[in-house]
Subunit: 480 residues, 2 copies
């Protein structure tokens, strides 16, 4: 593979340029013409489909159903919850013309669907019999980005899912928020092999319109935190302006309790940054569209038939195990070119079958995560493949747990706090008095936000800024 | 079920109002606030998911991959193919404002993705090695409808799939057009149980920008034709303005050959109209989200346990057969209410298990298509269920084939032609000289278009309008 095709920038030297090269050269995505927009190419879409499949199954198992709401939201609807509207207004795209005519009330491209969905919910929910209402939408949302954009991480349109549920009690809504957070955690840790901190957002950082927001926060190799998903308790903040009322079993009419939650294709960005290396993408087997690439190595015509029949037998058996396999039979590329191509694309395991392997009744394996190369007798090779994939999955999680550990620092000295953040970034665990003023000052002086307030951890005695008593122990970080 | 909840209009009396009632009351969809937009509710979405699953599998089997392109298209891109742009301009929604600022070049909400996709394709396609490029997008498109809207049939936003392929030869593109048409035909006839006429559109009716359009046309019970899907040969009409060129094996640079094709949620509208009856929706088993609803009939507490255990055993066995089952255990509704509710929702088969069934070791079946009610010994009931579902599927196709037959008329007399169209509508098969003038005149005088030109049928001798020699035998109809 020529320099031009492979990744030419070291991850450690310039992670931002490295990232862009990986996105483009591994063909996950491409820039679109309009600023801030990207095209999700088939390889990137296939990863998104794996993420989608996982979430879709989990939420359906727990009684949720999918629906589709319009892309366009009349301005009067978007305005119904004031705080929510104020939060989104700087980045809303507006349709003002249809064909050749100016339209009456301008239409917002959904930045999120709370308002348009809850307008319908208020018609559908009448009685306790209609609850809980557990819906999810797979769609895209548009937010005109003012900050600099970055494929997957910050784009003016992104694919995501947004769940919107309605409950008859506050307790049930609280449970929902946490059970979704747990599903997200299992997606991200067990499948994407990325450890996350979970907990609450501060009032300053919560979703506009929520009572509280729970979050999953990861750390990237450059020391910046990345919000990986959120699950909000909306309380009755929307049910009141939208009049989502129900007749309860006791014949009393009550306002409903609501939640909303989402993860987006941003998760693909996290996958790239956390696992990728100087050769390109590294995908965890559970989420990889192709788990094993099989490359027949055949220099002489006479070997061709016996190699191909071995390859066919092998891949048939792998497929029976439910594995996702690709046989690279492209005859216009050399084996060496193919090796680099699949390394760039991050396929977890490469299997080579050549004349020497045939002779010895073996196959050759090369792991993507550590480039380990080894052979296995043919009869044991299928089981070996399964075991090696499991090992790659857990090895990637071990590595990324180390990354999190190395990037987490605890202190109660504001001097150390500032020093650490400017030198290395990462999470800094520290006490907080709960005053917004301290939170604002820290942000102003260091650039770090409170990323997450763990659910039940308070080990620090003093607020990192004012040194008064700490009411919570929190994780600060600079972030994407 | 109260009058208010059930369908209150006879299909034969006023199919248009009946249709709206079925859509709303069966909870397939609801009207959204913005004019012409609908909300796809969970039950409607579940049908769409079945359609999607079928197409997604078929196109992936044949080497296609999914991708996602932005919703917003810069005006300059949309203008690149002049005829195409002219065709869409009356119904394009335009974004002119982002946040509080006027944007420079206005952005179109995609009415279809040819232009934005082919701008990227021109970067991706370099060599014959990159071909064929076989992509598909699951998304929504927006077209400000001027004509009166109708849920699923004509809405300002609709869910669909759009396939966009690039080939190195014209022959390969032609093959693609037909192989997709065949997949659509099998979806519609074998799964939706709706027969279609397939063939070409006339130049007047073809897709703006295509060399030719192939189509699948169904007939609705009110005698109006419905276009169910299209597959276009774009030739080099787009590859030239978009500069999609490739270096061929012979080292010559050539413009590529392209196709595009799509079906939308309009198919759900066809399902409703063709199969529905005065009680509501009737769904073919192959596409029904719920194929069998099981209703325990239990008036006395003492029977409860034995009935529930029978129901559990029965549904477990049905699920093992891969069937989609719902057990209606809602205790706040009577069995009678449930019967009507599931009839309204069109579930193909109802199974009742009550004390009398237990006593006789039977279960009771009620078919949705013909309301036939019968019992079967428990040990034979599982196999019976499978057989009855197959019978319902084929019975619905027989009925809809009759509908097509009754609504197809052949004539070479323009008097008869006009009379038939104004009295009954439907397809009228007639000769055509290929002159646009005759086509226009027929439209003007009768309201009927040429819906489809069958691929190889020319049985009529004279043009229905000018009486000169017929070059093609075609199907005219008024349409949605």
């Amino acid at each position: 593979m020529s320099k031009e095709i492979g990744i030419t920038i070291k991850k450690n030297n310039n992670i931002s340029d490295w990232y862009t090269q990986v996105v483009i050269k591994s063909e996950l995505a491409d820039y679109a013409r309009a600023k801030g927009f990207i095209v999700l190419r088939p390889y990137g879409y296939a990863i998104w489909e794996k993420i989608k499949e996982y979430i879709d199954n989990r939420i359906k198992e727990t009684g949720h159903q999918n629906a589709y709401f319009p892309t366009l939201i009349p301005e009067s609807l978007l305005q119904k919850e004031g705080e929510h509207f104020e939060g989104f207004i700087p980045e809303v795209y507006w349709v003002t013309i249809a064909g050749k005519r100016q339209i009456g009330e301008r239409l917002a491209l959904r930045p999120t669907s709370e308002t348009i969905a809850y307008d319908s919910y208020s018609k559908w929910v009448r009685s306790w019999r209609d609850l809980p209402l557990l819906l999810n939408f797979w769609n895209s949302v548009m937010r005109a980005e003012i900050k600099s954009t970055k494929p997957f991480i910050r784009t003016s349109e992104f694919l995501w899912q947004e769940g919107h549920t309605v409950h008859s009690t506050s307790e049930e809504a609280e449970k929902e928020v946490l059970s979704i957070l747990q599903i997200y955690k299992e997606l991200i840790e067990d499948n994407l092999a990325i450890p996350v901190l979970t907990g609450l957002k501060s009032d300053k950082e919560k979703f506009v319109g929520a009572v509280y927001t729970t979050t999953l926060e990861g750390i990237m190799p450059d020391g910046l935190a990345l919000q990986m998903g959120t699950s909000h308790n909306l309380g009755q903040n929307f049910s009141k302006p939208f009049a989502i009322r129900f007749m309860d079993k006791d014949k009393q009419e009550r306002f409903a309790w609501q939640t909303s939650w989402g993860v987006s294709w941003r998760l693909i960005g996290a996958l790239i940054m956390v696992h990728g290396d100087d050769k390109g993408l590294v995908l965890p087997p559970k989420i990889a569209p192709i788990q094993v690439v099989v490359i027949p190595i055949c220099y002489k015509e006479k070997d061709s038939e016996s190699i191909q029949s071995k390859v066919e037998d092998f891949t048939k058996k792998l497929k029976e195990k439910g594995l996702r396999i690709y046989v690279d039979n492209r005859d216009h590329y050399t084996p060496g070119w193919k090796f680099h191509d699949w390394e760039l694309k991050g396929v977890p395991l490469r299997v080579e079958i050549g004349p020497r392997d045939l002779e010895k009744d073996e196959v050759t394996f090369v792991r993507r995560d550590n480039f380990e190369r080894f052979t296995e007798k043919y009869e044991a090779a299928i089981n070996k493949t399964v075991l090696v994939l499991e090992d790659i999955q857990s090895n990637l999680l071990i590595k990324s747990k180390n990354l999190l550990k190395e990037n987490t620092f605890t202190t109660n000295s504001y001097e150390e706090f500032k020093e650490r953040l400017s030198a290395k970034g990462g999470f800094v665990k520290a006490g907080w008095c709960l005053e917004k003023d301290c939170e604002d000052k820290v942000k102003e002086e260091t650039g770090a936000d409170i990323r997450v307030i763990p659910f039940d951890e308070n080990t620090m005695k003093t607020c990192i800024y004012c040194m008064r008593e700490a009411k919570k122990t929190v994780y600060f970080a600079k972030s994407y």
